[in-house]
């Protein structure tokens, strides 16, 4: 009842409330810039180059020299294919080479003999003998190549690791039939780990190749330094897929709710602790340092909690 007759008090009351509301609005705007628009993401995945090793020749696997998840050095033997068949093929090629050598010797002698008897044999006969010699030379070369190929196939029965790496999901056993060109061992290149950050398209403006980044992998307190290598320049557009009649299958979408697409950004690890076990597919959070005013929140509270728990 008293307040009604005191306009000054009413003004102060409204003023205090409005000032707090305005301050809240300003702070919320800053929060939005820092939390939603600055370049950080919870959607990071560790990736690695995977070498899919396929034999160049088909055959039964004689023995597998590696075990699952083993670290192999470049050049280590992975497995051997039974070479018996290829030994026989090599013997056959060598025999054909011997025959070609003998044939060439014979044709060469024939040709030189005919050339010496130039007055007694027809010119046509000499020409034919010379040509026979050339053909025998070509056949000898062909037989030599066949021997080299048989030797190469022999070498290909032993498979070596092309890079330092980890054997993954080994499902190859002695007695399996290895088919040429069909990968049967996956080798994760030990020196190729990087992390892909899937950043919303709204955050991409603050990300430039070469920028420093910080990575926190799930379950590892320590922050890892990284560097932006490149930004992916394409993701699938589902609307581009065509149906059986060649028409694009355009999805109807809501006009109100829109999800920002996520663009993969490749980030290299600057240095990794010795004892860290990295596996392709691990998840983590990534923050990219940016010169723009919209820098991500410091997150000291989260770091503290990570240390405590």
């Amino acid at each position: 009842m008293v307040a009604r007759f005191l306009p000054l008090k009413s003004v102060v009351r409204a003023g205090v409330t409005l000032i707090v509301v305005i301050v809240a609005g300003v702070l919320l705007n800053a929060l939005w810039d820092a939390y939603v628009l600055s370049p950080w993401t919870r959607d990071g995945r560790v990736s690695a180059q995977i070498v899919r090793i396929a034999p160049e020749v088909s055959g039964t696997v004689l023995n597998v020299s590696v075990s699952d998840n083993q670290l192999v050095k470049k050049g280590d033997v992975l497995y051997r294919i039974d070479p018996a068949h290829f030994q026989l093929l090599l013997a056959q090629a060598e025999a054909q080479l011997a025959a070609a050598n003998a044939s060439l010797r014979q044709k060469t002698e024939d040709a030189s003999r005919r050339r010496r008897m130039e007055g007694f044999v027809s010119a046509e006969d000499i020409q034919r003998a010379t040509q026979d010699m050339s053909i025998a030379q070509a056949q000898q070369r062909s037989a030599q190549v066949a021997v080299a190929m048989a030797k190469l196939d022999m070498e290909h029965t032993v498979l070596h690791a092309p890079v330092d790496g980890y054997i993954t999901r080994l499902r190859l056993n002695k007695g399996d039939y290895a088919v040429a060109g069909e990968p049967n061992i996956a080798l994760i290149d030990a020196n190729s780990f990087w992390i892909t950050g899937y950043f919303e398209e709204t955050k991409l403006h603050g990300i430039h190749p070469g920028a420093a980044a910080q990575i926190r992998l799930m379950g590892i307190e320590q922050m890892l330094p990284g560097r932006v290598v490149s930004i992916g320049r394409g993701i699938t557009d589902a609307n581009q897929q065509v149906d059986a009649q060649g028409l694009p299958s355009v999805e109807p979408s809501f006009s109100w709710v829109r999800l920002a697409q996520r663009i993969p950004v490749r980030i290299a690890f600057e240095q990794l602790p010795q004892n860290l076990v990295l596996a392709a597919g691990m998840t983590g959070s990534i923050e990219v340092e940016t010169s723009a005013s919209k820098s991500p929140p410091p997150g000291r509270l989260i770091s503290l909690l990570h240390q405590w728990m």
Binding site: K9, V12, R13, A14, V16, T17, L18, V20, V21, V23, A24, L27, L28, A30, L31, A34, Y35, W40, R42, Q214, R216, M218, G219, M223, T283, G284, S285, E287, P296, P297, P298, G299, R300, L301, I302, S303, L305, H306, M309
Partner: protein, 64 residues
């Protein structure tokens, strides 16, 4: 830096953690403000409290 926060296998966004920390601080602040009689000097206590809690969460996320 902000990052995922896991409690018993549930991955929480960092904002949620900040909001959880802000809640007891806000309750304590409201108690003290009520005892100091500040609410006699505000227009809509509900609006005032809401704005105050937003300020608190924003400051926590931005500077802590």
């Amino acid at each position: 830096m902000l990052s995922e926060f896991a409690i018993a296998g549930i991955y929480l966004p960092p904002f949620f953690v900040y909001a959880c920390v802000a809640l007891p601080i806000f309750l304590g602040m409201r108690f003290l403000l009520a005892r100091a009689g500040v609410f006699r000097w505000v227009w809509h206590p509900g609006l005032f409290e809401f704005a105050l809690s937003l300020c608190l969460v924003s400051i926590l996320v931005l500077y802590v």
